[in-house]
Assembly symmetry: C2
Homo-oligomer: 326 residues x 2
């Protein structure tokens, strides 16, 4: 069967999820959405987890201008909070488990915890427990977050043909930032801030809960995440690259609006919300850009490029933890 | 301030816990007990997490007879379930986050997940979500578990001077097993089974909930864990080594009852329950051995050795993830 690396992330997760067996009470939604959903009496809980690994998700190299352990803790919290946002939920509490090499300076761990506390304080997420273990290798920080949703959670599977596809905020900044921003120009500093300190869209997720037919957060890039939502909903997608929202800073850094929108198509770690909305449904007061629509052909995973050509999203690139992503 | 390894586990956790700030609703008990406690309306939830790291907590060396990836998954689940048991709780659901090197065979991951599912099926713990990320180093598997307690949870802090100290089952087998069991004698096989496949004491923990003044699970060994409970309760301890429960198999392997009881004093990963009980309180039908009592002097952390001598528990040895444990 081969190695984890040869199989690739998507296939591995599917395989492992099958091994975990069928969903059973109190679990109502299991592996495959941004959070698991649990029903406890009249309450609906959300449960998710995320890991950040040294060398994979962050660097500790002191010569790298992206090195910022406080931002690492912030991003760990933000990525988990973003999973709650993607279901229309709000946070209750989190626990952290940290695998540390003996030679790590204590100040690094403290900085990471400080960042985690900062994002937790800002969004009402107390960190209530944890564990520290030793690893003879890169540090790995895992957060598990518990949340609650008032009413029905928004799943990935509720999209229907004809629904509009929209995203919150603007896209592409994190990828552009993380690919290396080494000078001090104002646009690059703005991207750097955005990439290192993403904001989980909790209020927007809650506001969208009544209108959205499906929702998820953008952690691996639109070209990778949108097909996931479409597969869960059993529909196809058609996205217009020219409608992707990008910041002025990204346009400046990329040199053109077209180049910026290509970044927006494949950029990961934006932690904006990807949402589908029945046509004519009331839009809440959230910064939303309509970028395409769901189609009836599940095999259609296309975008309309800058020159009007239709191309498969799989050719746009994107991020995968294992396998041959660009 | 120095490195994580120089500071040691206990001091590091205390330092990090302070950085996380004060407990706030819905959290009622934060870092420092087996689980965090959350109040949600009239329900009391438990939240805990635990990580197992390749090379630290398990081996994948095919020439080592202890290598068993299914047992790794089982132990990961069992250690988390044991944390619920230690509060008198029962499981609701868990999420797993796995950091994997690209070269790991897929079959290893599948075996670990199979073991996790086995212990989950046996004890009613559905695994409802997860995450897989890449690590350029040892594999790290983190489980976060959510549980519930019917009534008040049993904390570490409730012990009072004069209370009896008791443990469930028998102790020392896991350490003896994990130190290396390489022949096939019947006693060693029994220890091996016990060390690789610990049973979380959920039913016993629930049964003890009405009677116990304090409770925790034995993961790092009695000599390490009992002072933790005593510090949380603000009391001292006096333990009689000769009263420690040991299995016939451990006595056989160790060569004498005294040697076996020394293993029992320092052995980690037993996952039995350590419980304190007011004298005269009704004892539930649980295999319990009274091994000592709590004293009024918080500085007293002693055991009475095989020859009747009083010695500090700190001289008995034990397990620490960082620092100079034996």
């Amino acid at each position: 069967m081969g190695s984890v690396g040869a199989m690739g992330e998507e296939a591995l997760i599917e395989r492992l999820a099958r091994g975990l067996g069928a969903v059973q009470p109190p679990v109502e939604v299991g592996v495959g959405d941004d959070c698991a959903v649990l029903r406890l009496g009249d309450r609906t809980l959300l449960f998710a987890t995320d890991t950040m690994v040294e060398g994979t998700h962050f660097t500790t190299d002191p010569t790298n201008p992206l090195t910022d352990l406080v931002a690492v803790g912030w991003r760990l919290g933000a990525s988990n909070l973003s999973d709650l946002a993607a279901m229309g939920g709000r946070p209750l509490a989190a626990v952290i488990s940290t695998a540390l090499p003996a030679e790590w300076p204590v100040t690094w761990v403290e900085q990471a915890y400080e960042g985690l506390r900062k994002v937790g304080d800002r969004h009402g997420l107390p960190i209530c427990g944890g564990d520290v273990v030793r690893i003879n290798g890169p540090a790995a920080l895992t957060l598990a977050v518990l949340g609650e949703v008032d009413g029905e959670p928004v799943l990935r599977s509720g999209g229907r043909p004809g629904d509009l596809i929209a995203v919150t905020g603007d896209l592409g900044a994190s990828r552009a930032c993380l690919r290396g921003v080494h000078d001090g120009s104002e646009s690059r500093v703005a991207l750097l801030r955005r990439g290192l300190w993403p904001m989980p869209r909790l209020e927007w997720g809650q506001a969208l809960r009544g209108s959205a037919s499906a929702m998820m957060d953008l952690s691996d890039g639109l070209a990778t995440d949108l097909p996931r939502l479409a597969r869960a909903s059993g529909v196809g997608v058609l996205v217009r690259e020219a409608d992707l929202p990008v910041s002025d800073a990204l346009v400046t850094v990329c040199g053109s609006r077209e180049a910026a929108q290509r970044e927006a198509l494949i950029g990961g770690e934006d932690y904006e919300l990807l949402v589908t909305l029945p046509k004519g449904s009331p839009l809440p007061e959230v910064p939303l850009s309509v970028i395409g629509e769901l189609t009836a052909a599940p095999s259609q995973m296309e975008f309309v490029g800058a020159n009007g050509e239709h191309r498969p999203l799989s050719e746009a690139g994107g991020w995968s933890h294992f396998g041959s992503a660009s």
